[in-house]
Symmetry: C2
Subunit: 540 residues, 2 copies
């Protein structure tokens, strides 16, 4: 039996909340009976460390481990029983720009309600956070990329099932009488491909029964002529419910009607690699139909079949547990292709930040978008060695040196300390977490560029760290942290960081404390973590 241990520092928000829950429920309604388990070996007995059966409320039996008077319950049980989350993480790993980004391996950007769906054309999320009709929010897209990059490093190897690789694994395609299929070598794709045509009749199709459970990320190379489509049929194993996911030659983002959900994948007749999390695509379609979110659809549905209609080609069709790097590079490519002349990714939604502050008008920039964008691009360059990513990252620095009043994101604290503004309002708000994320982007770029004493990223990082180390104490409430300094700039009531943002601050400070030995960082991180455990600053 393996013990799950978890680290309290990373993923703090979930775990501290969890710890509280555990205690609460424990005393209230859980009765545990312990009895020696038959599963024990000599080594364990010698050290008086034995497996022991725990009866939980007489309802469940859990194999635990006993060491003298202490009994250890497996986290896998605690996880389910108390609905708390935790994972095995390195305790004191130093942050590395080639590695996971902060704690983003825990992020699941696409499931958020404010993500309308993943675009079929760009492969990146579309946000409805401040604009109901949906827009590309650079911060969210970068977080989507960073989350998948991080998950790729922390999750187990995905299972991959080849549906058709044109070589050793060929799909069993069933072809209607008025349809055709053929196989050939494509010089552009440098791969064997499947060509297909169907007639205008609805019954005319080329399809392949697949019957795959558990794994839901479909990827394939696809080139479609107009009015052609790829359809994936999903079936609920219990209820015999059927959902049709249509990927169609259209510019429309998403459309849903009854059991049919449509994603436009563009109209150009060119090869594109499509990588779709089918469950996400299904859930977003349901959300559009105002259907309630299903619990664990991954356990209840299976991929039943794949259908090609119209005219086009497909290749390298497979289904995986995950395709994190494909999602990551979709974000990186979006950042390169949409970057503007000044190096920015404007946010195309009006943003109301705080009362008494003029709204940010559509087209504003965010230091957090710039910083996160840089973090994505630095990693994309590291993985691909494609210099266009590096150049884009370097261009993204520019707006960090442009004052908010001139369309940039730079604020100054008392004319002395630079602050990269997540929301470049007038007056500035000095949001803490977005500023630190921007610093991480600068650090990432500096490291990925290699040691270079005249690096602009390094100078900006150093300047920002000086600001942070100087102003950090002002964010301390004595029992938590402030989200921003609006009470200073607006003269209003302070804006205290809620639990999860405070946890983010703590994680960010521990991370920076690994990069900079100034004791203010580690001391503040520890003190602020203490606040989460109920500690309070003393009064005089």
């Amino acid at each position: 039996m393996m013990m799950v241990r978890w680290n309290m520092r990373l993923g703090l928000a979930a775990l501290c909340g969890g710890a509280l829950l555990v205690m609460l429920y424990w005393s209230r309604c859980t009765d545990i009976t312990l009895r020696p388990s038959s599963i024990l070996n000599e080594e364990q007995t010698k050290h008086n460390k034995v497996d022991i059966e725990c009866l939980i409320n007489g309802e469940y039996s859990v194999v635990c481990r006993r060491d003298h008077d202490e009994v250890y319950l497996p986290f896998s049980f605690i996880h389910k029983y108390f609905e708390v989350y935790g994972k095995i993480t390195p305790a004191d790993g130093i942050y590395d720009p080639r590695g996971t980004f902060a704690t983003f391996e825990n992020y699941n950007v696409e499931v958020r309600d404010r993500v309308k769906c993943i675009s079929g054309i760009e492969g990146v999320p579309v946000s409805t956070q401040w604009e109901p009709k949906g827009f590309f929010y650079p911060t969210q897209i970068a977080q989507y990329g960073l989350a998948h990059y991080s998950k790729n490093l922390t999750e187990p190897e995905p299972r991959v099932k080849i549906i058709d690789d044109g070589d050793k694994n060929l799909g069993n395609w069933i072809v209607s009488t008025d349809a055709t299929v053929s196989r050939e070598f494509d010089t552009e794709l440098k791969s064997n491909i499947l060509r297909f045509t169907t007639s205008d009749q609805a019954s005319s199709q080329v399809w392949c029964k697949v019957n795959i459970s558990q794994d839901f990320v479909l990827s394939l190379d696809l080139r479609l002529k107009p009015n052609s489509s790829l359809t994936v049929v999903l079936q609920n194993k219990d209820k015999k419910e059927t959902v049709y996911l249509h990927y169609v030659t259209s510019l429309q983002l998403i459309y849903a009607l009854d059991d049919h959900i449509y994603y436009g994948i563009g109209v150009e007749h060119k090869w594109r690699r499509l990588t779709r999390d089918l469950v996400t695509d299904m859930q977003k379609g349901w959300a559009l139909l105002d259907k309630a979110k299903r619990k664990s659809p991954r356990n209840k549905f299976k991929i039943s079949s794949i259908i090609l209609m119209g005219e086009g080609s497909a290749a390298n069709i497979r289904v995986s547990t995950s395709e994190h790097m494909a999602h990551f590079f979709a974000a990186a490519r979006w950042l390169v292709s949409t970057q503007r002349a000044r190096g920015g990714w404007p946010v195309r939604a009006r943003r109301r930040v705080a009362s008494r502050v003029p709204d940010l008008r559509a087209g504003w920039h965010s230091a957090m978008s710039q910083g996160h964008g840089i973090s994505v691009l630095a990693r994309a360059f590291h993985r691909s060695k494609d210099v266009s990513y590096l150049r884009a990252a370097q261009r993204a620095l520019h707006l960090l040196d442009v004052p908010s009043s001139a369309g940039g994101v730079k604020a100054m604290w008392m004319d002395k300390y630079v602050w990269y503004e997540e929301y470049p309002t007038k007056p500035p708000l000095f949001v803490l977490n977005g500023f630190i994320y921007t610093l991480l982007g600068l650090y990432d770029l500096h490291v990925i560029e290699g040691d270079n004493s005249i690096s602009l990223a390094k100078k900006m990082f150093d300047d920002g760290m000086l600001s942070l180390k100087t102003l950090l104490p002002i964010f301390d409430t004595g029992s938590g942290s402030f989200y921003d300094l609006r009470h200073f700039t607006l003269g209003v009531s302070p804006n205290i960081a809620r639990w999860d943002y405070h946890a983010t601050h703590v994680n960010q400070l521990y991370l920076l404390a690994g990069l900079d030995p100034d004791p203010i960082l580690i001391n503040t991180a520890k003190r602020w973590e203490g606040y989460m455990q109920g500690k309070r600053a003393a009064h005089n």
Copy 2:
């Protein structure tokens, strides 16, 4: 029957704490029975407002007032029963430098344990706060002066009993056979005086039986030759205990042995006006003898007699409920006579302010001493028109413009905003309450000087107000206030203001809000007052 109403804003510390206490005890242990009182008149009956008897726990009977379903308990009862304090205060009076100082009419400096006694020579308190052998602490002396000035304005007229004025009221002096008394007119004092001599024998004396209860402030003009004394005999009415207060020609501060307490009043053969709170003098003597503090000695003791020994003269002998202005001017004179060339009142005690900060070495200056000193001197000038007080106040400004590193009290926040430091440490601590008190001193002087556009006090006040209004938000914890900004300058855990200091901040801000219409002052005062009622800043 008169209703006592009290204002929640001023004297907030006591009242908010009191309100809580009231509620707690109320539900726990107080049973109140109401029955109509016979004391009612026609007018009251007509409006259904009647006196009503309340039985408290079957133990006390209190006459209360009923208005329909509500019953009002007199504060005089609540005051004693719950040991809470309150007083009738003007609700929204604008601060006036000629009037009370902040809420100092509630201060009772001399009863504090850290006051060793009131000096017989200078008539001002001697502190043991940081120096067990006692020293003159300018801040404390100024507070003593300001408290008495304020009490003089808010308390009822004192009762005055003339013991001997050499004119209409003559004491019945009993003269030993080897002693003499004579009466004559003194040209220096411009008053009839009593001359006396006694022999070296202990039984040789001139004494006067007085038998006064309730009032204990003795004042007289006194001129003694060496080895002469004035003794006041106090008797405990119940226990027949006798205490002898000796005012002797000596430089010793205080000395006590058994029932004899000695105060040195100086050795020069000159007229001095002695004003002594006899109960305070008795209590401080007991403290020196490590006797427990008595409760309400003013109810239990009486002044039994006054004894003159040696050779000297006395005049204008009286006993009053209070002699606040005498105490006030004692403080003002001390400030004038001890002021140094740079206008400062150095603090002659080493002061440990905070760990990680070098101690302030004896001789340091405090902006609070300077500010309070100015507030005393401005009032002394206002009352006496003696320009030496005004000049001393103006000289006291100088050190506010001298950096702490050069022996002054000036710190700068980020090289931009001046802060007058209560404790001029390196690095600065930015103590809030002491800074605001300094601002009040500057305001006082400016107003007392009269409108003068080139007033240095006004410029210093304006500069300081700008600092205060700029930095005030940084003192906001979201649930209270910080005492200082040591977390910023030392990078340590924040120093949260305890309840009474937070209450002081609130009172100070309400006061300043009456002088400056900037909404940051009144809004912060209201928000911080809300924190005392359990309100909290929102989180995001």
